[in-house]
């Protein structure tokens, strides 16, 4: 037992110091090198990073589809890594999972697929039927109950996947690149559905993705992974206000130019303030706008502007911006 053996309050998922090494054709591949993750109740938590960063291994460790070589996984106050197989199976019923390629049973109808986890849990037939109808209504596929997965579009298949994952009333939903096989419009509708479920059911969602769009749309908090380690973690909005943030760098295009007096300005939810015109008026500086974007991130309006400020009082101008809660970063 390690000293981390008690889960910290309010977190539904606590992964503590996970290590995992694979043997691949006699070669050792380190997938996780001491990864810890703490997901609070009711959050949508995104793990992002390039492929090969260890995101997928991390997610599969959470419900122990992969067993970490070292470390502990606590879900809903239970140490999964210490559970014997029958209790682990029971605990897994409290953890729903959706998959990149949907992983639906082609031999079962939509209703049969949604009923499957309930059959595994030993729910009586009448109760199953009621729950399935309720779930298909929830994901908007009530009219497709008798269809087979092969007859559905990708978005519809993922809705079935979501209904199936929710059937045993899990407290946590794991999403393994759930929108990566979908087109942008369908991705948006699936993300909206996940956001609604998160709000209405208080469902905690841990998702992995390589699409920054997913983070932007729905993630309350993010962990950025690279080569088996978490290199940045925090609430999405806070990270964007943090100097040198990797998240901001991935979300926005890099500054188009660099040089003397070039700075990037990042602000959250201040779109209404006439900051630039105030600068020119108050400090008698010239401001050239070199590039910029305004993005909606996790429900907040985030602006990022690259500007060159020239004039004798430009230092004062930057201080003024910093005081007004704008993140000022020099572009070297």
């Amino acid at each position: 037992m390690s000293k981390h053996a008690t889960p910290s309050g309010g977190n539904v998922i606590n992964a503590v110091d996970l290590h995992k090494v694979y043997q691949l054709k006699g070669r050792e591949v380190v997938a996780l090198r001491g990864v810890s993750l703490h997901v609070p109740q009711g959050e949508i938590y995104g793990v992002v990073g390039p492929s090969g960063a260890g995101k997928s291994t991390l997610l599969r460790c959470i419900n122990l589809l992969e067993r970490p070589d070292r470390g502990e996984i606590w879900v809903d106050g239970r140490n999964l890594t210490a559970l014997p197989p029958p209790q682990l199976r029971a605990a897994r019923r409290g953890i729903g999972m959706i998959h990149q390629h949907f992983a639906l049973l082609s031999s079962r109808t939509v209703a049969g697929n949604v009923a499957f986890p309930l059959e595994i849990a030993g729910v009586p037939r009448a109760e199953r039927r009621r729950r399935v109808a309720e779930l298909l209504e929830l994901v908007g596929l009530a009219d497709k109950a008798a269809a087979y997965p092969a007859q559905l579009s990708g978005g519809q298949k993922q809705r079935v996947g979501i209904a199936r994952a929710l059937a045993p009333r899990p407290t946590v939903l794991l999403s393994d690149e759930a929108t990566s096989a979908l087109d942008p419009a369908t991705t948006a509708s699936i993300l909206d559905l996940l956001r609604d479920l998160n709000r209405e059911l208080g469902l905690t969602i841990l998702l992995i993705t390589h699409e920054m769009d997913v983070v932007k749309r729905i993630c309350d908090a993010v962990a950025i992974m690279d080569r088996g380690s978490v290199v940045e973690t925090g609430r999405t909005v806070d990270l964007l206000r943090t100097p040198g943030s990797l998240l901001a760098r991935s979300l926005f295009a890099p500054p188009p130019v660099s040089g003397d007096g070039v700075v990037t300005l990042t602000w959250v939810d201040q779109a209404e303030e006439p900051l630039i015109s105030q600068l020119t008026r108050l400090f008698d500086v010239d401001v050239s706008i070199l590039g910029g974007a305004l993005e909606e991130v996790a429900g907040h309006a985030v602006g990022r502007l690259t500007v060159r400020i020239t004039g004798e009082r430009s230092a004062e101008a930057l201080t003024y911006l910093t005081d007004r809660n704008v993140l000022v970063e020099e572009v070297p």
Binding site: N63, R92, L105, R108, F116, I120
Partner: protein
């Protein structure tokens, strides 16, 4: 032309019943052999998949052993296998002659064949559906029964049809050492007595049996396939 017909009419009182009983014997042999083949071949095929080192119940030593046994069964020519298992046939059926005795070598020859087809069909089932079932907390036996077998059902049926067709051909060979059935007729009358009427009649009946089996199989496969 009329000479041909006269020959048939002259033979029919004896040939008709012979063909009828021969066909029934063939169906009897193939039917029971198919039953035993499915009974033992299916679990064997399942074990070949689940004992794989990346399978549900990894057991490389068991898998290597099963695989070797299957390979031995697959590599023996059927006519050799039939002779090789004569003492087992006598032990199980009390005789080495007739259709009932033929069921033993037929089953032993077809079980490894079908087991390999089962293995191939089960490997077609995606790793992700097995993962999904595991993530739902399904026991391994449930994953076999409710995921692997139903998902592979079209392949399992197609494989069984192929096995039945092979059994029809084996059963004709069984005729060579007194197994009875259409093959027996073809050899005793068509080959040893040079009676072309028997030869062609048995050929036509064997082709018919295979056609019917294949067509019924195709319909079944289409009905259970939802891919």
């Amino acid at each position: 032309m009329t000479g041909w017909l006269d020959g048939l009419v002259e033979r029919w009182p004896q040939m008709g019943p012979n063909l009828w009983w021969g066909t029934l014997d063939t169906l009897y042999m193939v039917g029971w052999s198919t039953f035993f083949t499915a009974l033992f071949g299916l679990p064997l095929g399942v074990l070949l998949v689940t004992t794989d080192e990346r399978g549900l119940t990894p057991a490389p030593a068991v898998r290597a052993l099963l695989s070797a046994v299957v390979n031995v069964g697959r590599s023996l020519p059927f006519i050799v296998l039939m002779v090789a298992v004569l003492s087992l046939t006598r032990l199980l059926t009390g005789t080495t002659l007739g259709p009932t005795a033929a069921i033993v070598p037929l089953s032993i020859g077809a079980i490894p064949f079908y087991a390999r087809l089962v293995e191939t069909a089960l490997r077609e089932v995606g790793r992700d559906v097995v993962d999904a079932a595991q993530a739902m907390g399904a026991r391994r036996i449930v994953i076999v029964g409710k995921v692997l077998l139903p998902e592979a059902l079209p392949g399992l049926i197609a494989g069984l049809v192929m096995t039945v067709v092979t059994l029809v051909s084996y059963s004709a060979m069984a005729g060579a050492i007194g197994g009875g059935g259409l093959g027996d007729l073809a050899i005793r009358y068509g080959y040893q007595r040079f009676d072309d009427y028997y030869l062609w009649a048995t050929v036509i009946l064997l082709v018919l049996v295979v056609q019917v089996v294949q067509s019924v199989g195709d319909v079944l496969v289409r009905r259970v396939s939802h891919r």
